[in-house]
């Protein structure tokens, strides 16, 4: 007596025999038709780069009417220029996996080439008055950088990983010596740089306003985005990624690994050349200090935060890093920097503590109470400890005055506070559970103390400390950055 019961098919398992086409019939008929439907269909068919290329101006344009000329230069132009630079460095670091520490030199060579070919200047008894149209001098800048990239990239034929990093670092130093000290035939005008540079002039059309440069750079970014997307999806792009993951295997599969590396260097350098020439035109000058190691670290911070290999990441990273860089500049109002610092602090705590938000809320409340208590006790015992003035506190003056300890001459105390803050953070990483939450309270208070007494006076240095810490933190916590893809290492 064997009766075969039909196997029970749960609803969640893949339904064998059900046609996908039939199953989705409802969804298909529900699609919007008419103009909306056509737009939606085009949007769906667009490759990611196309979407990105459309979205970027859509986000970037609406701000235009509300932004003053100076802010547009400081924020808009710089964000776009660094986005270009990051897109170029992404080719070398993200696609091809080579560490190029001389990248900023290409930016500099681009700027100097443009400035030399479209401007009037002279030194050491030579005078140069080339006034080429921008289309020719930008082209020349791109070519010069591409050739230099070819030259530097060819050293990667023999050098692996770390040695390549050192040679490129040396290349960056050589650029500084070349412009600053060597100054052959007066073409770079030594440490004074090239000051009289023409604005962008295409045939008979001149860009003279910051808004014009903004539009032009936006166009450049969109074009570069589309080009890079096409390249990264092409045979070459796939070969880059393959040789990044395993050069030996790629070589054995018949890919010309050396030529690929040189191509990546050259393409990255060419994009940096473009960025450099527009930069020189926009600030009508090219000076050695524009191309220092700080700039290199900024570009790296953008690429690493955005996520190596991701095009979206470069744009978002540039917006985040450059905006905070400019807010923390010594010329911008300190109170904006203060708000940015505290919000970044809270965001960092939220994302790194991996604790529930209720507990964090308790910790923040405890920090506030702790601060007022400490302030009251110290104020009663040692009056000098609370007698200092808030550095341009704005609407927060009252709170800070009564919450943070502000000694009259912080000096040494601020330095000890900084060291104590580092010790606290180190201990915080080591501890677990409730102890960690308990230590968070004094750590936050010490951080606020250090900010109010030391960092707020030197935001320009603080930002570089923060960017250095950011590089370490991103690499250890989330190496793929915000938008990169996590890699599985097969060892």
């Amino acid at each position: 007596m064997t009766e075969t019961t039909p196997p029970h098919v749960p609803d969640t398992s893949p339904q064998i025999g059900v046609d996908q086409w039939v199953a989705q019939a409802d969804e298909r008929t529900d699609r919007p038709t008419g103009v909306r439907g056509r737009i939606a269909a085009v949007w769906r068919r667009l490759p990611p780069a196309g979407k990105l290329a459309l979205l970027t101006p859509a986000i970037a344009v609406p701000f235009l009417p509300f932004v003053s000329e100076g802010n547009l230069f400081n924020y808009g132009l710089f964000i776009l220029i660094y986005a270009l630079l990051a897109l170029g460095l992404n080719v070398v670091v993200g696609f091809a996996g080579l560490l190029d520490l001389g990248y900023v030199a290409f930016f500099g060579f681009g700027a100097y080439t443009y400035a030399f070919l479209s401007g009037t200047h002279g030194n050491k008894g030579h005078t140069y008055t080339h006034h080429w149209d921008a289309q020719w001098s930008i082209l020349a800048a791109i070519l010069v950088c591409a050739v230099l990239g070819l030259f530097l990239g060819s050293s990667s034929r023999r050098l692996l990983g770390d040695y390549l990093a050192i040679v490129t670092l040396f290349f960056g130093q050589a650029f500084v010596v070349f412009t600053n000290a060597a100054d052959p035939y007066g073409i770079t005008n030594g440490s004074n740089g090239l000051a009289n540079v023409d604005p962008l002039k295409f045939f008979r059309f001149t860009i003279s306003t910051t808004r014009g440069y903004y539009w032009f750079l936006l166009g450049c970014v969109v074009v570069v985005l589309i080009v890079l997307y096409c390249i990264s999806e092409s045979r070459t792009g796939r070969a880059w990624k393959a040789s990044r993951e395993d050069p030996l295997a790629a070589e054995l599969m018949g890919m010309p690994v050396n030529r690929l590396k040189i191509m990546a260097f050259s393409l990255g350098a060419a994009i940096a050349g473009l960025a450099g020439s527009v930069f020189a035109a926009a600030q009508t000058g090219a000076f050695p200090q524009n191309f220092s190691t700080q700039v290199l670290i900024l570009i790296y911070a953008v690429v690493i935060l955005g996520g190596t290999g991701s095009l979206t990441g470069m744009l978002v990273g540039a917006a985040a890093i450059i905006a905070s860089n400019q807010v923390l500049d010594s010329t911008s109002p300190p109170n904006v920097a203060r708000v940015l610092f505290y919000s970044a602090l809270i965001a960092t705590v939220y994302f790194t503590m991996r604790s529930s938000w209720q507990r964090l809320l308790v910790a923040f409340a405890a920090t506030a109470a702790f601060g007022f208590a400490v302030h009251a006790i110290v104020g009663a015992v040692w009056s000098r400890g609370t007698a200092g003035q808030v550095t341009s506190g704005g609407f927060l003056t009252g709170v800070i005055q009564n919450w943070v300890l502000l000694p009259t001459n912080p000096g040494r105390l601020a330095v000890y506070g900084y060291l104590l803050m580092i010790v606290c953070i180190v201990a915080l990483v080591q501890l677990k559970g409730w102890w960690r939450l308990a230590l968070l309270v004094p750590t936050l208070y010490v951080t606020a103390f250090v900010w109010e007494n030391l960092l707020v006076q030197q935001p320009a240095v603080t930002r570089y400390v923060l960017f250095g810490a950011l590089l370490i933190a991103v690499m250890t916590i989330r190496p793929q950055g915000l938008f990169g893809t996590a890699k599985v290492e097969i060892g």
Partner: protein, 341 residues
Amino acid sequence: MNSARGQRLGNLGGLGLVLVAWMFYAVYFSPTTGWTFFFQLTVNGIILGSVYALIALGYSMVYGILKLLNFAHGDVYMIGAFIGFGVLTLLGGPLNPAIPVALLVFCMFVVAMLGSGFLGLAIERFAYRPLRDAPRIAPLISALGVAFFLENSALLLFGSQFRSYDGFDLISYNGIHIGGDNGVFIQYLGVLVIVGAFLLMLALLALVRWTRLGKAMRAVSFDREAAAMMGIDPDRVIAATFFIGSALAGAAGVMFGLLFSQIYHLMGFLAGLKGFTAAVVGGIGSIPGAMLGGLLVGLVESWAKGYLNGNVSDLVVFGILIGVMLVRPSGLLGTPALQKV
């Protein structure tokens, strides 16, 4: 005799020939400056080279064990110099020290070495250990971040002005003249630096060759996984390596401060690059190679400063670096790296 050893001997022989030829050329064909000038530069070069050799040792040890280029090493050296300065000011300054000068200098060395050693431990723990199995580019970027963090922290804490050790006041500016009053002059401080550096290096050599820790270090640098299977804790060995390498860098920082009497927050960058050059020229991963490379870099820099000019000397040193990396990446005393598949 195997071929790697033969190649090393050949390298040394070639180097010796080049040095002897250069010496004869410099002594006989530069009548305006004469032989004292040459030997004075040589002595200065050896003193400077001892400092570079100490920096190079840290690079070389870390590279040998982790295959990681520790960009932050130059900045550990800078922090070491500042710790030494802190001890000096705490104990009364160079003009009226609170304790005998010999003891003071000893204290400076000990505290700076301990401080930099712990800094190295912390750097390893936070910036490199989480990235042990990451792609090779990740720890390099992290190292870049550490270097930048340390440099700017020092700028924040100590300001951008130069700090003066006043080593000349501390250990009076006396020395030995060799070959009459116009002969070669060696200051006692220089002797102290050379002897101190060589003692530290000998101690390190002995440690690596004869102690259990040294044996473990060699094992881990040879094959980390196999060493772990033999019961060695690689994390502890790597931490110990960082501690020792960073302590040597701290000693180098104090020596630099005593010799040149000026320290500032950016001093680590160039010194780090030169230490790395020394490590590569000597053969990265080899301890005697790092010493030899350090001396060579110091000598070349000193000669280039004397016979050419100050701006060019760095370019000459880095030109040599690139030449060595392109022509003989294994350096003078290193073994050619085999790429394992």
